[in-house]
């Protein structure tokens, strides 16, 4: 690689050709402030926070998009630079709803941090402020344009990373606003509620629709039996909200916290993940053996499902009819569990702690009410759970490790890897291989389907048939894969698709990692590594070996895909228009 020398504030550094001034400055040990910049996602030089002086250049330059040249001399800290950055920040603040104390991002706001860093003590440019209606139309995401600073990270992640473009820049000048097309609301367009926009928003302009109060009410209602379940990805990210490094596993502490919050039972969605493998694996074998529609595509990710309904209704028949794991769990809690414990299903309140905002929408699908009651009553994101723990004054990091409640708390390593891209595929293959071949799987780790490459392919020899599989995560990768299938370029038997890039570990409900940390940390990889650690440490690592799952079939469901299983654990889908 061609190396070039640049001098930044008198410090000479050697960097590869094409390096931006922002990156080169970091090499020199200088952190240039940024606001709109988000590595790899939003590099547009819009916010003018990272301005620098380049010797010989007429105007100040945006460091985040300015490629350094050999011999270039850069100043990052001159009075002119400092004055410009501060003035621009003051301008942004002058048009920002500054009710910080009541903001969801209070103390976790990049704009707040920047104000402190640049020493803003006064807003000298008060004047008119934009005043747009807050969009609360969707069950998952709330948009508050009055807090928006128009950094456009959300627009980039929605359009470039997810390939959707549900929101964009509308109007111009002072009236500029980020919103869906034609003055529509979020629930009137093709938004899949993945919440990736929330996780990249530096301020409180995008947030999940909070269900915290509803859950507190349920907990505090003596007539309610409140049951909680947690998705696999929550346990590898919740710790970040309490200052622990990215990729710390806090499963035991999370369970302890949930008990202290007052939930009557703490179950693990991983159990339902194992169950999903039984149901979905059986469905796959049925399609393979009886000429069913192939490829079969997984249905755990509600973002992906909504994407498919909006954009690829022709693939609806390919979707597995399995409900997503937490919905299966909800249906079982209100049937098997209720019956067994002699509780009126109407009094049971099921709460799902999910890394996902789209699950909030999913829980409201009218078809997901197998017992006549919604399978799941409320969905909280990892962030909302952290908020409840903080609100309750629980010292999370000092909690002892506790175990999930039986039997819906019993799970395997196969269940937990659902949280990372490729996990459902790996879990399914562990089971399908052994069931079809009757031979024990030698290498449980199927590394070919792991990792953050957008589309992964893997073939497995089952003796009678070689099963071709593919894994895609993030909807733009899903699009790429489906287009290839549509054009007949690729033929698969089984496809796993997750709506979010990286899978659930980096879902829209997960803790928000500020842009600065994203510069040198790969969140997807760090959280996924924790997931695979969890898997490795489990005594049982294959879904069909989960003793509690076996017990459930013996005692209640009969066999996978049985009539009762269909009634409780399977669903159907609806084509949707884009606008």
């Amino acid at each position: 690689m061609d190396m070039i020398k640049v001098t930044i504030d008198g410090i000479q550094v050697e960097v590869p050709k094409g390096t931006t001034a922002l990156e080169a400055a970091r090499v020199a040990g200088i952190n240039i402030p940024t606001l709109c910049y988000l590595k790899g996602i939003n590099e547009i030089g819009a916010c003018r926070m990272c301005l620098i002086e380049v010797k010989g250049a007429r105007n100040l330059q945006a460091a985040c998009v300015y490629p350094v040249e050999d011999g270039m001399v850069i100043y990052t800290n001159t009075p002119k630079v400092k004055a410009a950055r501060k003035a621009n920040l003051e301008l942004i603040l002058s048009n920002h709803d500054r009710n910080c104390l009541t903001c969801v991002r209070n103390q976790k706001c990049e704009l707040q941090e920047l104000s402190a860093q640049l020493g803003v003590t006064d807003i000298p440019y008060e004047g008119q402020r934009i005043n747009y209606t807050i969009d609360e139309s969707s069950p998952s995401i709330v948009r508050d344009p009055n807090k928006c600073i128009l950094c456009r990270r959300c627009v980039s992640v929605c359009r470039s990373v997810q390939g959707i473009g549900a929101i964009g820049v509308v109007e111009r000048g002072f009236k500029t606003v980020v919103e869906p097309v034609f003055d529509k609301k979020l629930d009137e367009v093709n938004c899949i509620y993945c919440g990736q926009c929330i996780t990249v928003c530096p301020v409180g302009a995008l947030r999940e629709k909070s269900d915290v109060e509803r859950v507190w009410d349920a907990i505090n209602d003596p007539d309610r039996h409140v049951v909680v379940q947690t998705a696999p990805a929550v346990r590898v990210a919740l710790g970040e909200e309490f200052g622990l490094p990215i990729g710390t596993r806090v499963t035991g502490k999370m369970v302890a916290a949930l008990r202290r919050l007052g939930f009557d039972k703490v179950f693990d969605t991983d159990f339902a993940a194992d169950l999903t493998i039984m149901e979905e694996g059986t469905e796959l074998l049925d399609r393979l053996n009886n000429g069913g529609t192939l490829p079969m595509i997984t249905s755990c990710s509600p973002g992906w499902i909504k994407y498919c309904e909006h954009n690829y209704p022709e693939f609806i028949k390919n979707l597995s009819t399995c409900k997503s794991p937490h919905e299966m769990m909800g249906a079982l809690i209100k049937s098997y569990y209720a019956e067994k414990n002699n509780i009126d299903p109407a009094s049971i309140y099921v709460v799902s702690i999910m890394p996902c905002t789209s699950k909030k929408f999913e829980a409201r699908r009218p078809e997901l009410a197998a017992t006549g009651h919604p399978d799941v009553d409320a969905v909280l994101t990892t962030r909302e759970l952290a908020g409840m723990i903080k609100e309750a004054g629980i010292e999370f990091n000092k909690l002892p490790d506790e175990a999930f409640d039986p039997i819906f708390g019993d799970s395997t390593g196969a269940g937990v890897i659902f949280g990372a891209t490729g996990g459902v595929m790996e879990a399914a293959l562990r089971t399908v291989y052994e069931i079809v071949t009757g031979k024990p799987l030698k290498a449980v780790d199927i590394k070919a389907v792991r990792g953050i490459e957008g589309v992964k392919e893997y073939e497995v020899d089952l003796g009678s048939v070689t099963v071709r599989t593919a894994v895609a995560h993030g909807t733009s990768n899903a699009k790429k894969l489906l287009e290839m299938v549509k054009r007949g370029e690729k033929e698969y038997h089984f496809i796993e698709i997750m709506g979010c890039p990286g899978g659930c570990v980096t879902g829209g409900g997960q803790p928000i990692v500020p842009a600065r940390e994203r510069m040198d940390k790969d969140i997807k990889a760090l959280r996924a590594a924790a997931i695979y650690d969890e898997d490795k440490n489990m005594p049982v690592r294959k879904s069909h070996e989960n003793p509690s799952v076996k017990k459930l079939y013996e005692e209640f469901l009969g066999s996978p895909n049985s009539h009762l299983a269909h009634k409780l654990l399977h669903t159907h889908y609806t084509p949707r228009s884009k606008y």
Binding site: G45, C47, R48
Partner: protein
């Protein structure tokens, strides 16, 4: 070829078109037919003559009779008297302000044209822009032929470089150098673009060129295509220029029919095609990166440079982007040589510049002058001075990006560098003249209001900063200005200039900063004395009745819509300033001129 004994040229530019020139053409057709003159007299609908103030304009050759302010009703007289009987209709001829009432001038003798040098506009008002044959008759496509058959691409670039031609869009970047960058940029596909998104308020240079001589732009773009190695051109023209769009469309069709655009032009290996892209009227789309995004079908917003268009432009390919007027100069430079071109102008600014003269000036219109002509010459000699004997106060060049030039700089020779030195800019050629009745704070407010409206909203200094500046100006002009507001405007303005993402934002504060620089006293009068010296800012206006002049006739009380005036009959009246809405009706009505703005 058929010979005509007389040519009747009717201006078909937008200005004359909107004052009815289409009807005049119809009338001529009917009259010529009626008198059986169709074979003797050729009727030509041309592009702009420049003297828009007196349009619609009709010129009859060979005499060069310059008829102005013509209506369809005048046509039978011109046909019967002039064309049939050979008697020029004197009372319909244009009369120079500078000359005695009874002196009649032909086109060549008109003061307006005397100091002009029409190089870029050479064919405007001369040929029918909808007939390629007329363009060809005036050496059209000859430069392209020479380039393709006698010159290498580098020869072409060197010729343009030697000519000293600089970009006419405003920034003045050396054109030849730009071409060289685009040529040297590696790329399998390259584009040649023409910026015809003229958006400055009151500017219509490019429109007139496109309407009057569209083929010269096509020819120049093909030459540029050959020079940089491109086979595809785009003209980005605003949809609000329907006549220009129509004539460009016709011109492209005709050029393609004759093989002057398309595959293997003049039998060579060179192929070049041009397509139109219509802009939807966003001012910022005149900024080069925004224009290219718009061509790509994206939201018209600037993107940071580098990468520069020459390296990564339209569809991420190397792109050459020049302004209409820049292209208009190219064929002639090729035909007449770099030296011919560089003889005109100043040391660092060669050739001519077209200006759209507007505001408080007698000869509103389009003028083309050699670089180095002084503002005084343009305003007084060509423009005919200020109407109603008013005093010149300032000239604004460069539109919303430019600055105001006060009387003390009237003798500044106009070129890129000298205008920048006095706080303005060449810009694309808008030139607005202001007299003593203009309030400079209000003028600054007007231009800033425009940029606030047209900001794309991408970067905070422009999106919010210009808005805050406008709010400060509103505050000052409404009489609420405070000590320190001027300094705040300067500080904010300088910051926006230094930190905005694109040229629009970087130049938006110029009208404010330059008026503060030259007319600070006016700002101070608004703030400290709550007075608008020019009597423009309504909130600061006071109508007063002179007790010496008032006869107490009571007429003013009758016209006052809000009953703000009172007084005994035959005794001096008074105006209640709290009730007065400053409509000025009383002052207009007063037979004794007793009511004045105070």
């Amino acid at each position: 070829m058929k010979l005509y004994r007389s040519h009747v040229l009717v201006c078909g530019g937008t200005g004359c078109h909107s004052s009815g020139s289409a009807g005049i053409i119809d009338a001529f057709q009917a009259e010529l037919k009626k008198h059986n003159l169709e074979d003797e007299i050729k009727l030509v609908s041309t592009g702009c003559f420049g003297l828009c103030a007196v349009g619609p304009v009709v010129v009859v050759y060979p005499e060069g009779a310059f008829y102005s302010g013509i209506k369809a009703e005048d046509v039978p007289r011109i046909v019967e008297e002039h064309l049939l009987k050979g008697r020029i209709v004197n009372d319909l001829l244009y009369h120079d302000h500078a000359k005695a009432e009874d002196v009649v001038s032909t086109l060549d003798e008109v003061e307006f044209y005397k100091k002009q040098k029409r190089m870029a506009l050479r064919n405007c008002g001369v040929i029918n822009p909808e007939k390629i044959e007329e363009y060809i008759a005036f050496d059209g496509y000859k430069a392209l032929a020479r380039v393709l058959t006698e010159m290498t691409p580098m020869d072409v670039i060197n010729e343009i470089k030697a000519s000293g031609l600089r970009g006419r869009g405003g920034a003045g970047f050396p054109t030849g150098l730009k071409w060289e960058f685009a040529r040297k940029a590696p790329g399998d596909k390259k584009y040649v673009c023409c910026n015809a998104d003229e958006g400055d308020p009151g500017a219509f240079m490019d429109r007139s060129l496109l309407e009057g001589d569209p083929h010269s732009i096509l020819e120049a773009m093909a030459i540029a295509g050959y020079a940089i190695g491109s086979d595809q051109g785009y003209i980005y023209v605003r949809a609000e220029y329907p006549i220009a769009v129509k004539r460009l469309t016709i011109a492209i069709e005709q050029a393609k029919e004759l093989g002057l655009l398309g595959k293997n032009i003049f039998g060579t290996d060179f192929s070049f095609d041009i397509e139109l892209r219509l802009g939807a009227g966003a001012f910022v789309c005149g900024e080069e990166t925004a224009l290219m995004r718009s061509i790509e079908g994206k939201r018209g917003e600037p993107t940071p440079r580098p990468p520069f268009p020459a390296v990564k432009g339209v569809f991420a390919k190397p792109t050459l982007l020049n302004n209409v007027e820049t292209y208009a100069n190219i064929p002639q430079i090729i035909l007449n040589g770099a030296e011919w071109f560089s003889q005109v102008g100043t040391e660092k600014s060669k050739g001519t510049k077209v200006f759209a003269l507007g505001g408080k000036i007698n000869n509103t219109g389009l003028v083309e002058v050699p670089m180095g002509t002084t503002l005084r010459e343009i305003i007084y000699d060509i423009g005919g001075g200020i109407p109603n004997g008013k005093k010149f106060k300032a000239a604004q060049t460069g539109g919303p990006s430019g600055g105001c030039i006060p009387a003390e700089h009237l003798d500044t020779p106009i070129d890129y560098d000298s205008l920048a030195k006095i706080g303005s800019m060449m810009g694309s050629g808008g030139l607005i003249v202001m007299d003593e009745d203009n309030c400079m704070v209000d003028i600054a407010r007007f231009f800033l209001d425009f940029t606030v409206d047209e900001s794309c909203g991408k970067c905070p200094p422009c999106r919010i900063g210009t808005k805050r500046m406008l709010e400060l100006l509103d505050k000052i002009t409404s009489g609420n200005g405070e000590e320190g507001d001027i300094e705040k405007l300067e500080e904010l303005g300088n910051n926006i200039k230094a930190s905005a993402l694109c040229g629009l934002g970087q130049t938006a504060p110029n009208p404010v900063l330059s008026t503060i620089m030259y007319f600070r006293d006016e700002y101070e009068a608004h703030i400290k004395e709550k007075r608008c010296p020019a009597g423009v800012c309504r909130n600061l206006l006071r109508y007063v009745i002179s007790s010496d002049l008032c006869r107490g006739c009571g007429l003013c009380t009758k016209v006052c819509p809000v009953s703000a005036i009172s007084g005994e009959r035959k005794a001096p009246h008074i105006i209640d300033p709290d009730k007065c809405i400053k409509c000025g009706a009383c002052a207009e009505k007063c037979p004794f001129h007793a009511i004045t703005k105070g």
